[in-house]
């Protein structure tokens, strides 16, 4: 049987890349027993001798703290492979050496792969591998797994280590007089139990028992007559903690830290590292006073890019869909003699108007996701989370709620699932109730459309206000709930480890932007498509009024009938027309559907205006010309993000959809259309995000709290919109 070689180390040290380089195509993938985690095995040969390599899940040490780590530590401690390749990140030598020390203490043969050596060199980190080898007594090979550098040398070193045949001499660290006294006594108790020696060096076994390692404890329990050893270990654990004044895990970690720090000083020079550039930036960006203004400024720029820079492409897609694409569809129906039929109405007024109305906002969503990806990959989003955390704790919302809430800016559904990372059911529920108020990407098309209609020059200001209002309402509701039904518990302490600041990686930013935008486009092809078809049929079915199927006035349709039932409740909010209530009703399915429904309703009502063209070639020329115009306008809009206005880009033209929406809101509010539009936006921000979010909430918190959430959000939305509209009227605004 071929000797088994474990590839182990901390997460992100490059284990899997190195494993792939070592084994090439000779791999097989299975599952670890009783786990869903993939087990990757492969083979490699050195001088005719074949070795079986196993790629282990990442772990920081031999005391597992998660199911995946338990797989790695279980394999190392119980299977005891012929040798371990300990992969350590050369740019983070200290973390890797803690693992090396534990493998060496366990008496396992090992070869150290000093991976990412090229990155370390570029950062000016020098490592004296000879001194390192002398200190730990094992071969250290520099590798760059990404390029395959050092792989052959590493394989040869493995063959030498295994071929030596002798067991590795365990590393012995001095844990200080108190621990050593008890450790010595415990090792003596194992003399009567030679079976324990088969598990590993007795000193290491006793160290693991003292550290409370559950896997080693279970292995010792299986040895007949070992109860006395376990009892002695437990007593020693308690006595040591009492003598030292703190627990034994900390005492062991302290001594290993001394050993690692001393070793790093010897092999890499003394570490006098003061604050790095990233630390200095953090001092400003997470500062108690400056952190919040910086966060608001970053959000402002993000939303200006989203709403203003991408706007020319929004107009381009909108005019392409409502113009040439609709004309081509009509021409196609004419060619097959189906023009004027309900089928043409379904495709042109239902599907193309509905789905197209939402697809027009793809550039806006692309802009948002691009900016969020830049902020995430640079490390700024983590700082924003830190700033939000401080503010949220001040109003009684648990600190860890920042994570679901930041996720909520993208989509509410994963944000609700992300509440699982919180400790108590109270914290999970409170955060779950608040995340829907974070403005998700799906609401953005509604903001941009209404802002374009009523506040064309202030588009980004309106969008920015909506995002801020969402945070403010969440804080207010959180404050109320944490003082009443969900009283605040003592927040669990934790360390927030922020990633280093770095220049965003173009590939990562593109991948994130593409994935998220594609999810939005897929939504248009599924949920929005289905909703558009349902709405069209409801608009086509007569309900009490005159006309037949697909030939009834829209206000007399089934959709009109349902919408009219709800409309009176919205009259005090300034948008009590049935078209507006109908759009909000379908918005329960998904927020983008508000836009597609408006596009359908007003397209159906639009019979006066028909654009014509001289043919397919003209249409293509028009699409091409307007694309070039949109690209040029986008380039000219970029300096405006930071307030530089070289060219006047204000566009006085508005689409038919926009002017119809304006008329509708003017009518419903008796001439206060802009104010009613703002109240409508506040309602869209605050009411239930979508059916998927409701289903996710039910799955996480049960039906009762789901209803509390849905009804509560509707009440908050109605109240918020009422305050905006009636308050605005009282103050004479709009």
């Amino acid at each position: 049987m071929s000797p088994i070689i474990a590839i182990a180390g901390c997460p992100n040290a490059g284990k899997t890349t190195l494993f792939n380089r070592m084994t090439g195509a000779k791999q097989k993938v299975g599952n670890w027993p009783g786990q869903t985690v993939d087990r990757h095995e492969g083979a490699f040969s050195v001088h005719g001798q074949t070795f079986q390599a196993v790629d282990l899940p990442g772990t920081y040490g031999l005391v597992a703290v998660s199911a995946e780590e338990a797989i790695a530590t279980g394999f190392l401690c119980q299977e005891r492979p012929a040798a371990v390749v300990t992969v350590i990140d050369a740019t983070n030598l200290s973390a890797g050496l803690h693992f090396v020390a534990q493998i060496a203490e366990a008496g396992l043969r090992q070869v150290v792969a000093l991976n990412m050596s090229d990155v370390a060199e570029r950062r000016g980190i020098t490592i004296d591998t000879e001194t390192l080898e002398d200190a730990i007594g094992v071969k250290v090979i520099r590798t760059v797994a990404r390029r395959g550098d050092g792989v052959e040398e590493l394989q040869a070193a493995i063959a030498d280590a295994v071929g030596g045949g002798l067991p590795a001499a365990p590393l012995v660290l001095d844990y200080g007089p108190v621990v050593e006294r008890h450790l010595g006594g415990l090792v003596e108790t194992t003399v009567a139990h030679p079976e324990i020696h088969r598990l590993g060096p007795p000193r290491w076994i006793m160290l693991q028992l003292l550290a409370g390692d559950e896997q080693v404890t279970r292995a010792v329990e299986d040895i007949p007559g070992s109860a006395k050893v376990l009892t002695a270990a437990q007593q020693a654990r308690e006595t040591v903690a009492a003598e030292l004044g703190f627990d034994i895990e900390t005492a062991l970690a302290e001594r290993r830290l001394d050993w690692v720090t001393g070793l790093v000083d010897r092999v890499s020079g003394p570490c006098h590292a003061g604050p790095t550039v990233s630390d200095r930036l953090d001092m400003v960006l997470t500062h108690q006073a400056w952190g919040l203004p910086v966060f608001l400024a970053v959000m402002w720029v993000t939303l200006r890019v989203t709403a203003d820079v991408t706007a020319p492409f929004l107009d381009w897609i909108d005019s392409t869909i409502s113009g040439p694409v609709s004309r081509w569809a009509e021409a196609l129906f004419q060619a097959i003699s189906l023009d004027g039929t309900w089928a043409e109405g379904l495709v042109v007024d239902g599907i193309i108007a509905g789905v197209g109305g939402v697809l027009a906002f793809v550039p806006v969503l692309f802009g948002l996701y691009f900016m969020l990806a830049m902020l995430e990959d640079s490390g700024y989003m983590a700082r924003a989370a830190s700033v939000m955390d401080r503010g949220m704790r001040a109003v009684g919302i648990p600190g860890k709620a920042f994570l679901p809430m930041m996720v909520g800016f993208g989509c509410t559904v994963p944000a609700i699932y992300a509440t699982r990372t919180l400790d108590s059911s109270r914290d999970r529920l409170l955060t779950g109730l608040l995340t829907p108020f974070m403005s998700c990407g799906a609401r953005l098309p509604v903001y941009v459309l209404l802002a374009e209609v009523f506040y064309a020059g202030q588009r980004s200001t309106v969008v920015f206000s909506m995002y801020l209002l969402g945070i403010a309402v969440a804080a207010l509701i959180g404050l109320i709930l944490s003082r009443t039904v969900l009283r605040e518990s003592e927040p669990a302490p934790f360390v927030m480890v922020l990633p280093e600041f770095r220049l965003p990686n173009a590939r990562t930013v593109w991948a994130l932007t593409r994935q998220r935008t594609w999810t939005f486009i897929k939504g248009a092809g599924t949920i929005i498509l289905a909703a558009s078809i349902v709405v069209w049929f409801l608009l086509a079915i007569p309900s009490g009024g005159g006309g037949g199927f697909a030939d009834t006035p829209v206000e007399d349709s089934a959709f009109g009938g349902i919408s009219k039932v709800i409309a009176p409740a919205l009259k005090p909010l300034g948008f009590g027309e049935w078209e507006q209530s109908g759009a909000l009703l379908t918005g329960f399915v998904a927020k983008e559907v508000v836009v597609s429904t408006m596009a359908q309703l007003y397209a159906v009502e639009d019979t006066a205006e028909e654009e014509t063209s001289d043919g397919f070639g003209d249409d293509l020329r028009e699409i091409g010309t307007s694309f070039v115009g949109a690209a040029a306008d986008t380039l000219r809009a970029i300096p405006r993000v930071v307030g530089l206005n070289y060219v006047d880009l204000e566009d006085d033209s508005s689409s038919h959809l926009q002017s119809t929406i304006r008329s509708s809101f003017d009518k419903s509010s008796h001439g206060h259309g802009a104010l009613a539009g703002m109240a409508f936006l506040v309602f869209v921000l605050l009411y239930t995000p979508c059916m998927a979010a409701v289903a996710a909430f039910r799955q996480e918190f049960g039906a009762r709290w789901m209803w509390v959430s849905v009804i509560g959000q509707s009440v908050v939305a109605w109240t918020g919109a009422l305050l905006v509209y009636q308050g605005g009227l009282l103050l004479g605004v709009g």
Binding site: G274, L372, F494, M691
Partner: protein, 90 residues
């Protein structure tokens, strides 16, 4: 004892505490705090929270979220913002 002091400082904080905060409280450098955290993590004294496997692998309902996204476990909207480390109690 440095690590005992660090552990006490973490436990004393209500909610989140950053490496910079800890460095300031212990009058040391952020790099030294990073090294101490690495030591506690290797000893199994600190465990990361918010791991991906804690999220659900199932979508809320067929035809809703599942129709347009790969599910919460690999949802593109879930950002990996920060690592939270908690003191592990046994």
């Amino acid at each position: 004892m440095r690590l005992a002091d660090l552990t006490r400082e973490i436990e004393r904080s209500r909610g989140a505490v950053t490496v910079l905060d800890l460095a300031a409280r212990l009058d040391t450098t952020p790099a030294a705090v990073d090294a101490m955290l690495a030591a506690l993590r290797a000893a199994g004294k600190l465990s990361p929270d918010g791991r991906p496997q804690q999220r659900s692998d199932e979508c809320p309902s067929p035809g809703s979220c599942s129709a347009v996204c790969p599910g919460p476990a690999s949802c593109p909207f879930v950002a990996n913002l920060v690592t939270g480390l908690e003191i592990r109690r046994r």
